[in-house]
């Protein structure tokens, strides 16, 4: 397949289970390397970088939101949000992270550990963590999949709001047709191909 996603575009990838959505997302984000073909991210050919090179690229240009949140259990909400800035060695991680937590409505819970937060709250922390480094692209893998309707709606709202204000590219994998419809482009996948 050939696929180009432009700067500031919002793209939803939909399709039945096993269609290859997550594999595509992993390849686009440089979490995996294709056996054939090439993926370019932020102007760099991913398969020509080593693990550390791709990690550095992710640190500089990529944010992630996962279906099951994947916060670091040993760090507080604030420390989780600070992590991308610290990994990219940027200054004032604490201030930027605190501000962003405030924005997602968790200013009061900055010192809590993931296990002390509800699912919706954890995903809001994850969202803050994804955008805190002002990445060029945010990849979201079923961001509302594990949440109840109300929390899911809140996350969706925040996701698009933050995306718009930071002018980032958003690539979203979802089952949720409503969520997909809010994106600028919808890609349907089946049997490993774009339909």
């Amino acid at each position: 397949m050939t696929l180009a996603i432009e700067r500031r575009e919002t793209v939803a990838i939909v399709g039945p289970s096993g269609a290859g959505k997550s594999t595509l997302l992993a390849l686009l984000a440089g979490l995996d390397v294709p056996t054939a073909g090439e993926v370019w991210l932020a102007g760099q050919p991913l398969s020509r970088l080593d693990e550390d090179g791709r990690a550095a690229l992710r640190a500089a240009h990529v944010g992630f939101v996962f279906q099951s949140f994947h916060l670091v259990p040993s760090l507080t909400a604030l420390e989780n949000v600070m992590l991308p800035l610290e990994l990219a060695r940027r200054g004032d991680a604490r201030g930027a992270a605190a501000a962003l937590l405030e924005r997602v409505g968790l200013g009061a819970r900055a010192g809590h550990y993931p296990r002390q937060l509800s699912g919706g709250e954890q995903q809001r922390v994850a969202l803050a963590r994804a955008v805190v480094g002002r990445p060029a692209v945010v990849f979201a893998d079923e961001p509302t999949g594990n949440l109840d309707a109300a929390s899911g709606e809140r996350i969706a709202q925040l996701l698009f709001e933050l995306n718009a204000s930071a002018a980032t590219t958003l690539v979203l994998v979802t089952h949720d047709r409503e969520l997909a419809a809010r994106c600028g482009r919808v890609l349907a996948m089946d049997g490993g191909r774009l339909a």
Binding site: D32, A55, A59, A60, V62, F64, P73, S74, D141
Partner: protein, 790 residues
């Protein structure tokens, strides 16, 4: 049936998920370590015992002044023991006009059951070892007897009603001992000739001995049989009775080996506890599920027990095989050092391994029982365990406190370090458990290292190459100085000369000995026989006062006595007790002023009972000394004997060699068991690190997705493990120093604190835990970040 199927099916499921594999692996390593050390300790321990047995020419001796009933020998043979009869009596031996009082020893086939006789063609010649015994009509006089009678090989000797032909000269026998109860020279004859000699008459002072040798359980069974069929005047003697020197070395080696086994058991316990933690946690979730599905409590319990049992059995089988192979390989590598063949491996370690695996999994607290069941030194084990319990509590408290501190620092720490510290802080229970586990592991290994070092050093310095090899007894007072001068002029290094008088203990605290009853053979020996007494102003450096005080010049002539620990223990004597002795018809009552620990293996003259000067000088006595003496020719010694006919000469070179052999073997045992335990300990600790792998793998993957480089992840891991290692190391090294000081006493060592060793312990723990943690979790560094998607 339903239960069995369900249990096996869920076991299979858990196996497929890979969770069980980690637990099974660490359990297997643990059992292998335990079984390996167990096999080794078992085999080397038996080799040391067998070597020590040489001094008795047997493992056990049943002795009596009356002929022994045949049932004892029958019982011993039925129990699988090798036996031999040995009858000794004093008789005059004739050669032409010459005659000499000799100790006639009639031995039956098999003698000596341990060690070898050495014989030569001429007195004091260089002997060659032999398995033969004099046949019927033959006699082997020892060098002293041959020299005294002037006989040569081929001559005839008259013994009782018999005339025997001298076919060899006896140079050494393993059981010549150091107790010098036999002053007379020896003549070895065939047991079958004894009756024909008509020496055994009613009232003849003969001693009858049944020599026994075999495996420890068989010996134990015979001891039990003997206890049940005790007859007055019949006593069992073991190595410690025959030679305190060798008994001492064997006992200390056995204690060290027992400690090493205990350490292996404990390391195993620690490791299994570590890896069982997370498994049990997850298993409990499954149990909760079964309960919601309506399973009864009994069903759930049986289900869990069955599963764990299956796991334990599997680990035991695999672990025992690995352990057995390892010790085989180790012994093959050590074969050159050990020289003699070791007895084959026993089954005990396998059962110990199974017991531990089952006990650990079923109730992770059964250590104490297992340790007690597998080790004879149970009192030592219990003390040791109590100490370790305290150490574990201290480690936990220390670990907890230090982790709290680490949590405070972490806000100030840079990213990589902060993440490591944060992991520690969050998994606080886990981290404390790890500090305790590693701490105990390092503590045990450091303790073993300290004791090993002290023991080996002590053994090396105790028996110098030029230790005295001759004893000279019955030196007349008038000839004392001349004799010493003569010896020195022959190039001998002469030790102290001590006076010696014979006396009998007749009362303790005013109660006559006849009114007192003693159970132990040793005590009755002390109580009934004449004792050798001496007096001295100075205390030799091979004697140490352990209670009371040694006398000063002002105490000269006061009625005091200093008693050796063994003598006091056997008779239950305390400081301040009064003893009455009958010395050459004169009664003398003295108070115990001090108890002494005697280093018998100094091979210098030593006595159980020492009096202050000015008390016994009136009694007629003789002198005794020992010396390092290398006669320039065989004739030199014979000439000395002729010049001082009343002096008895004892060559203890063979005993010295025996002690050296036992110590050498014990040292190799201690060394190799230590090295093996060390390796086992490291392996087991590594297995314990594996337990937290899954969790780490997950966190590493998150960090990787967020763009962390490998170096940062590595720093995280190392920080975490290094902090655990540092905490464990500081606490463990301090604990080991303390434990070493306490334990050194039971091994009769003097402990010196070594700051270098302490530092080495700390540094070792940090390096060990960091390296171990790195090795065990290295693979998570490259765990693919894509696994976080779904």
């Amino acid at each position: 049936m339903r239960l069995l199927m369900l249990a096996s099916r869920s076991l299979l499921r858990e196996w497929r998920s890979g969770e069980l594999a980690v637990l099974l692996a660490s359990l297997t390593v643990a059992v292998a370590a335990l079984a390996g050390v167990g096999f080794l300790v078992d085999r080397i321990g038996r080799a040391v015992t067998a070597q020590a047995g040489e001094v008795l020419a047997a493992d056990l001796r049943l002795e009596s002044d009356e002929p022994l009933a045949a049932d004892a020998e029958q019982a011993a043979r039925d129990g699988g023991l090798a036996t031999s009869r040995l009858t000794t009596l004093l008789s005059v031996v004739f050669h032409g006009d010459a005659s000499q009082l000799a100790n006639v020893r009639a031995a039956s086939a098999g003698y000596p059951l341990r060690g070898m006789l050495t014989t030569a063609a001429e007195p004091f010649g260089a002997g060659t070892p032999t398995r033969a015994l004099p046949g019927r009509g033959e006699a082997w006089p020892d060098s002293r007897l041959a020299a005294a009678l002037g006989v040569r090989v081929g001559d005839r000797l008259g013994v009782g009603a018999l005339t025997l032909q001298v076919t060899r000269i006896l140079i050494a026998r393993p059981d010549q001992g150091s107790a010098f109860v036999e002053f007379a020279p020896a003549l070895l004859i065939d047991d079958a000739d004894l009756a024909a000699s008509q020496l055994l008459q009613p009232g003849s002072r003969a001693r009858f001995a049944l020599l026994l040798a075999g495996e420890a359980p068989a010996l134990q069974r015979f001891r039990a049989w003997q206890a049940a069929h005790a007859r007055p005047g019949v006593r069992l003697a073991d190595v410690a009775d025959a030679s305190p020197q060798i008994g001492d070395a064997a006992v200390r080696a056995a204690r060290f080996l027992a400690l090493a086994s205990l350490v292996a058991v404990l390391l195993t316990a620690v490791a299994v506890a570590m890896s069982a933690r997370s498994y049990v946690q997850r298993h409990l979730d499954g149990v909760a599920l079964l309960k919601t599905l309506g399973a009864s409590r009994a069903f759930v319990l049986a289900h869990s027990v069955l599963q764990l049992l299956a796991l334990a059995v599997a680990a035991t089988v695999i672990g025992s095989v690995i352990g057995w192979l390892t010790q085989r390989w180790l012994l093959a590598a050590l074969a050159g050092l050990l020289r003699t063949d070791l007895p084959p491996a026993g089954w005990a370690p396998v059962f110990a391994g199974l017991a531990v695996a089952v006990a650990m999994l079923a109730a992770r607290l059964a250590i104490a029982l297992v340790a007690r069941g597998t080790l004879g030194e149970w009192r030592l084990s219990l003390q040791f365990l109590a100490g370790l319990g305290a150490a574990a509590a201290l480690l936990a408290a220390g670990g907890y406190g230090l982790l709290r501190l680490a949590r405070r620092w972490r806000a100030a720490a840079p990213t990589g370090w902060r993440y490591g510290l944060a992991s520690l802080g969050r998994r606080r229970a886990e981290s404390v458990a790890q500090v305790v586990a590693f701490g105990l592991g390092v503590l045990l290994l450091a303790l073993l290292a300290i004791l090993r070092g002290e023991l080996l050093r002590d053994w090396r310095t105790r028996l110098p190459a030029d230790a005295p090899n001759y004893f000279f007894l019955n030196i007349p007072v008038a000839e004392r100085d001349a004799f010493r001068a003569r010896l020195q002029s022959e190039g001998a290094r002469v030790e102290r000369l001590l006076p010696m008088v014979r006396g009998r203990l007749v009362a303790i605290n005013g109660r006559p000995m006849s009114a007192l009853h003693f159970d132990s053979p040793r005590a009755s020996n002390f109580a009934e026989r004449e004792q050798n007494l001496t007096w001295a102003q100075e205390l030799g450096d091979d004697n140490r006062v352990i209670a009371g005080r040694w006398w000063s010049a002002a105490d000269t002539g006061r009625p005091l006595v200093s008693v050796a620990e063994e003598f006091a223990e056997a008779l239950g004597l305390r400081l301040g007790d009064t003893l009455r002795f009958d010395v050459a018809g004169e009664s003398i009552e003295v108070r115990i002023a001090s108890l002494r620990k005697v280093r018998w293996d100094s091979f210098r003259p030593n006595f159980f009972l020492v009096f202050p000067p000015g008390l016994l000088e009136g009694t007629a006595g003789t002198y005794l000394t020992s010396a390092r003496f290398e006669p320039r020719s065989p004739g030199a010694l014979a000439a000395l004997v002729r010049a001082y006919p009343s002096v008895s000469v004892f060559n203890v070179s063979d005993l010295l060699a025996q002690v050296r052999a036992v110590i050498g073997k014990a040292a190799v045992a201690v060394q190799s068991v230590f090295v093996f335990t060390l390796c086992a300990g490291l392996t087991v600790l590594l297995a314990a690190v594996q337990a937290s792998r899954e969790e780490r793998r997950y966190e590493m993957a998150i960090l990787r997705v967020l763009g962390a480089r490998r170096r940062l992840l590595l720093r995280n891991l190392l920080t975490e493990f290094a902090v655990i290692g540092l905490l464990a190391g500081v606490l463990a090294a301090s604990g080991a120093a303390l434990g070493g000081a306490l334990l050194a006493r039971t091994l009769e060592l003097r402990y010196h604190f070594e700051p270098g060793l302490w530092l080495l312990g700390v540094a070792g723990a940090v390096a060990l835990v960091a390296a171990g943690g790195w090795a065990a979790t290295r693979s998570v560094l490259s765990s693919p970040p894509s696994r976080l998607l779904r």
